[in-house]
């Protein structure tokens, strides 16, 4: 009897249940875009209770790789596809198509006790390359600068590296942290720290610096005035079939509900309802 139960249990686990005709949607990619992916998924699950949505957040690069291998329907990316990713996609007859769903600003943050309120991109670059090591050199207190950066595989790092650093190498004493919350936490607790996070992570416990005279906020980022702004992408294989669930998902940002969700998640919407 025991054996029968055991076999039945194993069978129940191993053999796929009937009802595979259910529609499924697979998303993979950036940890930055992930929260939007989650929230859109929530709205879609409410709309289509039978739809199976899976969201994986392992990084922009993994999203691109998954799209190339046809392992996902939509790749979430906080940067554009790189040349080699594009090439391998085309070789696999996958034609990456970018949908910009929102904008995000990479905000340079310091501890709120820091008297410095504004820096230029040149100054930030000098700090990150290790040429400036004390806050007094940029008009602050006599305090050594603690440099916090995101890990080099993140899209946020790449944006910062491209737009602020001009692809220059960061100083050897740079501290790399794996996520936005960690960068935020590190700056929050360190008086001399400088770091960078997405717009949604700004709160009263850190101070966002004015960069090149522009304060990071929804208006300046949406218009591209803030120098470290970037679009957030969904990539699909070709333009999704009109009326399909992928199509609806990729255009959801255009709806009023989509805009509300993007705002609720701390990003800058492209629409203005």
């Amino acid at each position: 009897m025991k054996k029968v139960v055991l076999v039945a249990m194993v069978a129940a686990v191993v053999f796929p249940a009937v009802g595979l005709s259910q529609q499924a949607l697979q998303l993979d990619g950036s940890t930055t875009v992930g929260p939007i992916g989650d929230a859109f998924a929530e709205a879609f699950m409410r709309k289509y209770p039978d739809l199976k949505i899976t969201v994986n957040k392992t990084g922009s690069g993994d999203g691109a790789a998954a799209l190339v291998d046809n392992r996902c329907d939509i790749a979430m990316m906080s940067r554009f596809m790189k040349e080699n990713e594009f090439r391998s996609a085309v070789i696999n007859s996958v034609w990456p198509m970018a949908h910009v769903i929102a904008m995000d600003g990479v905000c340079v943050i310091v501890h709120p006790s820091n008297p410095v309120t504004a820096l230029t991109t040149e100054q930030i670059r000098s700090i990150y390359t290790g040429k400036i090591t004390n806050w007094k050199n940029v008009g602050g207190a006599d305090m050594p600068i603690v440099i916090i950066s995101r890990d080099t595989s993140s899209g946020t790092y790449e944006t910062f590296h491209g737009l602020v650093m001009n692809k220059e190498k960061m100083a050897a004493n740079t501290e790399y942290v794996p996520g936005n919350p960690q960068a935020h936490a590190r700056v929050k607790t360190t008086a001399g720290a400088i770091g960078y996070v997405g717009l949604g992570f700004l709160d009263v416990s850190v101070k966002a610096l004015t960069v090149d005279g522009v304060k990071p906020n929804k208006q300046t980022i949406a218009k591209g005035k803030y120098p470290v702004s970037r679009p957030l992408f969904l990539f699909t294989n070709g333009y999704p079939k009109l009326g399909s669930i992928v199509h609806e998902y990729c255009t959801f940002y255009l709806s009023e509900e989509g805009q509300e969700i993007i705002e609720a998640k701390g990003f800058v919407p492209l629409t203005n309802y």
Binding site: A17, A39, T54, V55, N56, A141, P181, A264
Partner: protein
């Protein structure tokens, strides 16, 4: 000469012997006390590690739930008594309404742009109204231009920062009240607003209007987090924004943001700023001397009545699904996923591991090939887990699955196979040692009775070695359940339905904890969810271990024969 030497040696040895005894005793004492010390240290480390984790983690399950929590429970899971929940909601909403009213009143004096826009709207609506009444030509022109005068005066009053001047302008607007042309039209809205604004002007320092805007926004944002969206507002799209503070500890944090303002003030030129926390109702730079001054004290005094916190045991935390991003809800699917992954990995790894161990001990001799195999197994045990993850992705998902007709995607099967490879070395090593330690006499007795080598192994060696093998299994269960890197690329999803078959990805506790830590800003708002997930994982591993240890002790008892 010899004798002398001998006696000398004897004396020396005697002294040494005596002193050696003393030294040995000292060594013994040192040894036992250091053993005690290390055990004590271990316990202390465990306590430092586990106690805060369990304590903080338990806040996900035991907390003071507010009425918002009970509302959420009813809406999402139909738990609780609907009549009670509704009655409670009505009750708190009635109380909250007065606070909303008071802050709105204040805001009307601050947010001038909105009011100017509104005044323009009224003017436009008046034009439409005239069209509907078929007033045309010259009449329309005059009426509209008069309305425009009223509007302009009202707007001017709004834009005044001097209270007396504003009041004068308002009086001019109100002078039109007796005008029969405007009676019963939309223009009366101007008069109503003018009266309202007159009230505001007398209580707010208009010149500081700009300065109120920032703090007011902070207060309003925190108020939304405290009480949720207002009852007359449309329902937000995301569940996470539909409720206020569901927990008393979160409510208190939001209340603190409302009542206290953090200011960073400069002490000296070139020195770091100093943090200053001030009550908003006692600071000139905040709301002192305004109509809102008493609002903060009243809110503090009444917040408990407006949220009705009550001690709650949210045991459903362990079975509930969560809203995306883990803002609300529990870890049910994660527990199922972790269990599935672990047990399946064990189902693959244990038979394979035990058979390999048996081969290595019983059949394989002591030649170079076996040595190489052994070294390889040992090396495998030291390979970083992320390497296994990437191997799983490359081998199972990208290479093997398409070949055997399975979908080439992350799934439970590939994840558990990867975990199986990960724990295999541990199981092989432990099983090998266990099989080796079975006394040779057991086997010889069995062989002497005429049993073959296979039969001897299955009926004699294996049962005798089982407790040792189980030790290896216990170690690997904990490892498999807790690993994140191998399943990240092979089968774990941050969000997804509860899997219906092993060809679908699943959520897992370990990956969920990672996802919460690196991804969403929500994690910063709900730390108890993070603690809760870690606590659940530890408890789960503990439970699995306890079960395995219980089985092992029963087996050992059986083996001893009593």
């Amino acid at each position: 000469m010899n004798k002398a030497l001998q006696s000398f040696w004897e004396t020396m040895l005697g002294v040494w012997g005596r002193s050696a005894l003393a030294t040995r005793q000292i060594f013994n004492k040192v040894f036992t006390s250091s053993a005690h010390l290390s055990v004590a240290l271990l316990v202390v480390v465990l306590l430092i590690f586990l106690v805060p984790m369990i304590r903080r983690g338990s806040t996900a399950v035991v907390f003071r739930g507010t009425n918002e929590f009970r509302e959420l429970q009813w809406d999402l899971h139909t738990r609780g008594d609907p009549d009670d929940v509704q009655a409670e909601t009505r009750q708190v909403e009635a109380l909250r309404a007065t606070f909303y009213e008071r802050i709105d009143h204040f805001k009307r004096g601050i947010d001038i742009n909105a009011r100017v826009d509104e005044a323009r709207q009224i003017y436009r609506r008046y034009g439409e109204e005239l069209d509907q009444k078929d007033v045309t030509g010259q009449d329309k022109q005059t009426l509209r231009s008069r309305c425009r005068t009223v509007r302009n005066q009202f707007v001017e009053a709004l834009e005044q920062t001097d209270a007396d001047a504003a009041l004068e302008m308002l009086d001019r607007v109100l002078a039109y009240r007796s005008d029969p042309d405007f009676r019963g039209t939309v223009v009366e809205e101007y008069f109503r607003q003018a009266l309202d604004y007159k009230d505001i002007v007398t209580s707010i320092d208009l010149s500081r209007r700009e300065k109120y805007a920032g703090p007011l926004e902070e207060v309003q944002n925190a108020l939304v987090l405290l009480f949720g969206p207002r009852p007359d507002e449309p329902l937000p799209a995301l569940t996470q924004n539909r409720y206020g503070a569901t927990r008393w500890d979160m409510a208190q944090r939001n209340l603190h943001t409302i009542v206290y303002a953090t200011e960073w003030v400069s002490q000296e030129e070139g020195q770091p700023l100093i943090k200053k926390e001030v009550r908003r109702d006692q600071s000139e730079s905040q709301f002192k001397g305004t109509t809102l001054e008493s609002w903060f004290g009243d809110l503090e005094a009444n917040v408990e009545a407006m949220l009705k916190p009550r001690w709650t045991l949210y045991w459903q935390y362990f079975i509930d699904d969560s809203t995306p991003g883990h803002y609300f809800g529990g870890v049910g699917p994660e527990i199922i996923g972790t269990l599935l992954l672990t047990l399946l990995a064990m189902a693959f790894a244990v038979p394979l591991g035990v058979v390999s161990a048996a081969y290595l001990v019983e059949c394989a001799g002591d030649n170079v090939v076996v040595k190489i195999i052994r070294t390889s197994v040992n090396t495998l045990a030291g390979v970083p887990s992320i390497v296994f993850g990437l191997f799983g992705l490359a081998f199972y998902i990208l290479y093997l699955f398409p070949k055997i007709g399975l979908p080439s995607q992350k799934c439970i099967l590939s994840a558990s196979l990867t975990l199986a490879v990960l724990v295999l070395p541990v199981i092989i090593r432990a099983s090998e040692e266990a099989i080796k330690s079975v006394p040779q006499t057991y086997k010889e007795a069995s062989l002497a009775l005429g049993a073959g080598r296979f039969r001897t192994f299955v009926t004699v060696t294996l049962p005798a070695a089982l407790p040792g093998i189980l030790t290896g299994i216990i170690l690997s269960v904990s490892r498999a359940a807790g690993e994140t890197a191998p399943i990240m690329f092979t089968g774990a999803a941050a969000l997804g339905p509860i899997p219906e078959s092993i060809t679908e990805p699943t959520r897992a506790l370990s990956y969920g904890g990672y996802d919460l830590a690196v991804g969403d800003r929500l994690a910063m708002l709900v730390p108890h969810k993070q603690y809760g997930m870690v606590m659940t994982l530890i408890t789960l591993i503990l439970l699995l271990n306890i079960i395995a240890i219980y089985i092992r002790s029963r087996m050992a008892k059986k083996l001893r024969g009593y």
